[in-house]
């Protein structure tokens, strides 16, 4: 038995990783919706969900249940196969794209089945290209959904989204080229390492060596183009024309209900996460700490954040209206404090945690910006969208490529 395990350790570990990743991803997605609703609500000075569970913390569960239990009608005259294929495609591709992202520099502190286990499922050495390949296929889900619903609003939505995605894919790919030129590799790991070694402005380490600030040419333009194009790729506000309620009801997924709709929903949030990952990895040094490596005390930053917030949660929980809140919130707080304490007590674990900690916090920041934008910006008009993509983003990203190449030649990287 064990011999079998050891023989196919790689396969088994990978499978386990995949399952774990799925679970985590789904949870995160769920709570991302909660986070978004809360945040948008506060931006619009509302309370947002606060009925189900303390601070509406159980709202995602409620939503999930609703998605599962609602009636799932299939409109007449749809192309059944494609109609069912479309959501699967979107979700599947969105999920797959996460698999390429590495979440930490070092393997786990302990061996499993005699193997070093890295955070992250597959580490292709054409990583970023593979990612783009997958996102490139992502358009089918939406387009086909729009077409197969055999109804005019979805068709419109589908057409729009496929046009939009093709247009912005170009800009997105182009804007990354600068970083690739600097790093000289497609592999995400190599890209991050290149940023670690790059000496930044004034030769400072840490934040100033990230490729947005450092490198032959700071990739500010590149980042701008990439982020905007990526938002458009994920059909998020202010580029969410495919599902523009005011004109297309719900765009491509008008005809989808309950769980199939949920799939699109999850796919969208997953791709949001992917994009955030990419932004932080390509431009913000991935898991690199913003402080110079010499500042060892920053290793305790996770704990310093966890413990006070845990304490705050406890304190807040004790003053909560409902009995449930007064029971659950302190529990969470206690858990946070415990983790913080554990990090202080186990230096090995603490060292291991640094990379993921920084990466995750960066991802969180970008997700925040996502929601922030949605809460703030109005939606583009379609022609504005197109002209923006073709006449501004693409040229700018091309300029960025040229400048970077020139800088590399000039500064002899």
């Amino acid at each position: 038995m064990t011999s079998f395990l050891y023989a196919n350790a790689f396969l088994i570990i990978t499978l386990v990783k995949i399952v774990l990743m799925l679970v985590i991803l789904l949870t995160v997605n769920a709570y991302l919706t909660w986070f978004e609703r809360k945040l948008v609500a506060h931006i619009q000075s509302r309370w947002g969900p606060h009925r189900v569970g303390p601070h509406g913390l159980l709202q995602p569960l409620a939503d999930g249940a609703k998605f599962l239990l609602k009636e799932d009608p299939t409109p007449a005259g749809v192309d059944r196969f494609v109609y069912f294929l479309a959501p699967l495609l979107s979700l599947g591709l969105a999920m797959t794209s996460i698999a390429i992202i590495p979440f930490g520099p070092d393997p786990l502190p302990w061996l499993i089945l005699g193997q070093k286990v890295y955070l992250g499922i597959a580490d292709l050495n054409i990583g970023i290209l593979g990612l783009f390949a997958i996102t490139a296929l992502g358009v089918y889900g939406i387009a086909l959904a729009g077409w197969s619903s055999n109804s005019k609003y979805p068709l419109m939505g589908g057409l729009r989204s496929s046009a939009q995605m093709i247009s912005y894919e170009l800009a997105m790919t182009m804007s990354v080229v600068g970083v690739l030129l600097t790093a000289g590799s497609f592999s995400l790991r190599d890209i991050i390492d290149a940023q670690k070694n790059a000496h930044g402005i004034f030769g400072w380490q840490g934040i100033f060596s990230w490729s947005i600030f450092a490198g032959p040419l700071p990739q500010i333009l590149g980042f701008f183009c990439f982020y905007v194009a990526a938002i458009a790729e994920t059909n998020r506000a202010p580029f969410d024309l495919p599902e523009a309620e005011s004109e297309l009801v719900a765009g491509f997924h008008t005809e989808y209900a309950s769980f199939k709709f949920a799939m699109f929903f999850i796919a969208e949030y997953t791709s949001m996460i992917t994009v955030s990952c990419l932004c932080s990895i390509l431009f913000f040094g991935g898991w690199l700490s913003p402080f110079p490596p010499s500042w060892t005390f920053t290793f305790y930053l996770p704990s310093l954040i966890l413990i006070p917030s845990g304490l705050w949660v406890i304190w807040d929980g004790l003053r909560y209206e409902t009995i449930w809140g007064r029971l659950i919130l302190p529990g969470i707080g206690a858990a946070l404090v415990a983790i913080g304490a554990a990090l202080i007590l186990l230096p090995a674990l603490n060292n291991f945690i640094q990379g993921p900690f920084w990466l995750l916090s960066k991802i969180f920041v970008f997700l925040f910006v996502y929601v922030w934008m949605r809460g703030t910006l109005p939606r583009f008009r379609y022609d504005q969208l197109m002209s923006f993509g073709w006449k501004l983003l693409l040229p700018v990203s091309l300029v960025n490529v040229v400048l970077t190449a020139g800088a590399i030649l000039w500064r002899g990287y």
């Binding site: 054409i126 783009f132 390949a133 387009a143 086909l144 068709l155 589908g158 057409l159």
Partner: protein
């Protein structure tokens, strides 16, 4: 029956199946989807051969751009089931034999050729993208530039063709 061979056969079966399905399907969208399947599985084969960059480009350009364009056009024209006219007698009776002849000829050429290369097994390190790019931008730089012109002209042509002449 080792793993790569297994993978090869799976992908090959996928490709062939997709191609057959392309022929059998009546609706262009379905044909397009099956073609996408073919392309993706070909990309898989490229990966198997270690041609990672080509595989990626295959998916990005073919799958992500060209086929999207096809689907887009199908959606735009709202193309329905293709009507089964049979005006061309010639195609009717000569089609299958001809296709068989092409396949047979090529296969036979492969079979009866005594070239050592044919028996070379596809193994070894992955094709380094750096070398590929070096080749592309050193030896093949003129063709490369020419293709850029080609693309430009194609874009213009597409625009000119597709725009409605508004009087």
């Amino acid at each position: 029956m080792n793993a790569p061979l297994l993978v090869f056969f799976v992908l090959a079966a996928l490709a062939v199946g997709g191609a057959v399905n392309l022929i059998l399907q009546k609706h262009p969208i379905h044909s397009a989807l099956s073609l996408i399947v073919v392309m993706v599985s070909l990309a898989g084969l490229y990966l198997l051969m270690g041609a990672e960059f080509v595989a990626a480009v295959q998916i990005i350009v073919y799958g992500g751009a060209i086929m999207v364009l096809f689907v887009f056009v199908i959606m735009l024209l709202n193309a329905g089931i293709e009507e089964h006219t049979n005006f061309s007698k010639l195609a009717g009776f000569a089609g299958i034999p001809l296709a068989l002849a092409v396949t047979g000829f090529i296969a036979a050429a492969v079979a009866r050729s005594n070239d050592a290369v044919l028996s070379v097994s596809q193994t070894g390190a992955v094709a380094p993208t750096k070398e590929l790019s070096t080749l592309l931008f050193r030896e093949f730089v003129y063709p490369f530039e020419l293709t850029s012109f080609l693309i430009l002209i194609a874009i213009l042509g597409a625009i000119v063709l597709a725009q409605r002449e508004h009087s």
